[in-house]
């Protein structure tokens, strides 16, 4: 017997969570474009999509965020910090790949310096994941040793019922348990069968690819030039990626005061590695694409023993010239054998 949450009860849960102080967020579609957005009622959710166009990381690592305000007084400067918001958040309808993305970035933001902007939000959020019963050509969680129902990074896992009128609720963490306790009265015991998980074919063998990447001779291989000829060097793959975490610090202001901001940055921009002298260690687009793949599947696992990719497929889904990790790793796996 497991606890079941029926869809018709969802709205009561949302109001309950809201009165418990949570801002309830979930996938919302507007003009054929979807992202994780705060909602008023359960009806605002759009749970039918494979996954939202924008990734979950934005709620923890926004595209731009003020860090401090500085004002100039005579010959001195005084500053006043912005503390990250401490409101409690409950994110409903998260996809396993997005949730896994958060857990991949946790060790990085918690590395030698604890990024309080990231952790202030992480510690106040409950991730309620819904396992995937649908996938599209770009999903590749299985190729990254994840699955449509993997639990990494989630606080609660909901498995859709066969006749799609509710979910099996399974708590994974303390926060998950508390969140479920808060809506205890709307849960019922039952044994309705769950729907079959989405079928996500494995696109490539990850280990062979990582091995090829770790082999230093391949760093100068002609492969990188051929595979990235089409790349136009925009930042959309990195900005939509649930695990990309690079940022740039910028000061914006006038003569008297200004704001220091933390903004997303992308390794596919030339400016990312441009020296003031004008020299750029990564001057060609193929060097930059190589860096993206090497970082995700070689350097990052080297430090945190987990690949910096949760297989959501957004980079391939969104690329203006139809490139992406899938095609690259598929080609690498053929080179290796």
């Amino acid at each position: 017997m497991t606890r079941i949450l029926f869809s018709d009860k969802l709205d009561n849960c949302v109001t309950r969570w809201q009165s418990a102080g949570f801002t309830v967020i979930g996938p919302v579609t507007k003009d054929a474009f979807s992202s994780y957005t705060a909602v008023e009622h359960a009806s605002d959710f759009d749970l039918g999509i494979v996954l939202p166009d924008r990734s979950l990381k934005e709620l923890f690592f926004p595209q731009t965020e003020p860090m401090l305000r500085y004002t100039l007084k005579q010959q001195s400067i005084n500053t006043e910090d912005f503390t990250p918001p401490s409101g409690k958040k409950l994110i409903f309808g998260v996809r396993p790949c997005d949730a896994a993305g958060l857990s991949i970035d946790d060790p990085l933001f918690g590395w030698d310096y604890k990024d309080e902007y990231w952790f202030q939000r992480r510690n106040n959020s409950v991730i309620v994941t819904i396992a995937c019963t649908k996938a599209d050509d770009f999903c590749l969680c299985t190729s990254l040793k994840l699955a449509p129902d993997s639990t990494t990074g989630s606080d609660i896992l909901l498995r859709p019922l066969e006749n799609n009128n509710g979910w099996h609720a399974e708590e994974l963490t303390d926060r998950g348990r508390e969140a479920l306790l808060a809506i205890e009265e709307f849960l019922q015991e039952g044994s309705e069968p769950t729907a079959p998980m989405a079928v996500v074919p494995e696109m490539f063998d990850l280990d062979t690819c990582v091995a090829w990447l770790q082999n230093p001779e391949n760093f100068e291989s002609k492969f990188w030039k051929d595979i990235s000829m089409r790349c136009i060097g925009c930042g959309s793959c990195t900005y939509l990626c649930p695990t990309c975490h690079c940022f740039d610090i910028q000061d914006e202001g006038d003569t008297y005061s200004g704001i220091r901001r933390k903004n997303w940055d992308s390794c596919s921009f030339a400016l990312f590695t441009m020296h003031t002298s004008g020299h750029n260690p990564r001057s060609t687009q193929s060097a930059r694409w190589r860096q993206r793949i090497m970082h995700k599947f070689n350097y990052f696992p080297g430090k945190f023993s987990v690949n910096s990719c949760s297989g959501c497929g957004r980079c391939s889904r969104q690329c203006p010239v139809d490139m992406g990790i899938t095609e690259t790793l598929q080609k690498i796996s053929t080179l290796h054998s």
């Binding site: 050509d137 925009c234 959309s236 939509l240 914006e252 997303w264």
Partner: protein
């Protein structure tokens, strides 16, 4: 598809007799209707060539990649009418020499693809002239009409909502054949004319500067619109600018390889209705 076959053999012949070092075309993409830019240098790559109504992207931007044309060798490229106009502007702005470019012109109505006569940019000038005189009657964007009926406050609210989604990934810039500057104005920080952050104000400034820099140069190929990951209707802004320069200065972007940029020339009798 007869046209596609005809072109495959033509490409192979050009590669074989060494008159071109590369052909830039389309190949099937990761889904049924997606098409990828394809750089053909060998017979195997030529076999991947596909040419149908799904081949929409304007490939002329690839011609200005660093070093591609610096060895004086010729390159062939598949271009739709907008692509040929982009090529004309790139030549007019001395970014490439059109004698190095062999054009495989094509256009498509519905599913049916037909080839355009001519191989050198100058052979298309009266064809482009006819496009200017009677533009294909794809009706003007309904959204453009709606925006024009709004008052400034409503329009500002519309664009504020659109630009609040912008994440400054610069896909619009990178996919545009006209954006070939070595260092874009947003990348220069002494002074920082356009705020780098992607708050709504910074996004407003970026999109205004981008549209202004494309006034009289945008051919309406839609690359920017299609590559925007957050679906901002960028084509509307550029369409408005094209109508403006056509209406005020009778300037149709990409008429010929010697066309003067509209904002670097003037006529004494330009109208000045708005000057006090």
């Amino acid at each position: 598809m007869i046209t596609q076959e005809k072109y495959r053999s033509k490409v192979k012949k050009l590669l074989a007799d060494g008159s071109v070092k590369m052909v830039i075309g389309y190949s099937p993409g990761s889904t049924a209707d997606r098409r990828r830019p394809l750089f053909i240098r060998s017979f195997e790559e030529a076999d991947q060539l596909v040419l149908d109504s799904n081949c929409i992207a304007n490939l002329s931007g690839y011609l200005v990649t660093e070093g591609l044309l610096s060895d004086e060798k010729r390159v062939a490229i598949f271009l739709r009418p907008e692509g040929i106009r982009s090529l004309n502007i790139l030549a007019a702005e001395s970014q490439l020499n059109v004698d190095q470019i062999i054009i495989f012109g094509f256009d498509s109505i519905g599913r049916e693809v037909n080839s355009l006569p001519g191989e050198h940019a100058d052979e298309f000038s009266e064809f482009i002239g006819s496009i200017k005189e009677n533009p294909p009657e794809k009706s003007r964007e309904p959204l453009l009409y709606q925006l024009e009926q709004m008052n400034p406050q409503e329009r500002f609210a519309f664009w504020k909502e659109e630009f609040s989604r912008c994440i400054k990934c610069y896909a619009c810039r990178q996919s545009c054949p006209m954006c070939y500057c070595r260092r874009c104005v947003v990348d220069s920080n002494q002074p920082q004319w356009v705020n780098t952050s992607s708050h709504t104000l910074g996004n407003f400034e970026w999109n205004i500067v981008r549209a202004f820099h494309l006034a009289g140069r945008c051919v309406g190929c839609g690359n920017c619109d299609r590559s925007c990951p957050v679906n901002i209707p960028l084509r509307l802004i550029n369409a408005k600018m094209s109508e403006e320069v056509l209406g005020s200065f009778n300037h149709f972007a990409g008429m010929s390889t010697t066309q003067e940029p509209v904002l670097a020339s003037f006529k004494k009798e330009d109208s000045e209705t708005f000057i006090l």
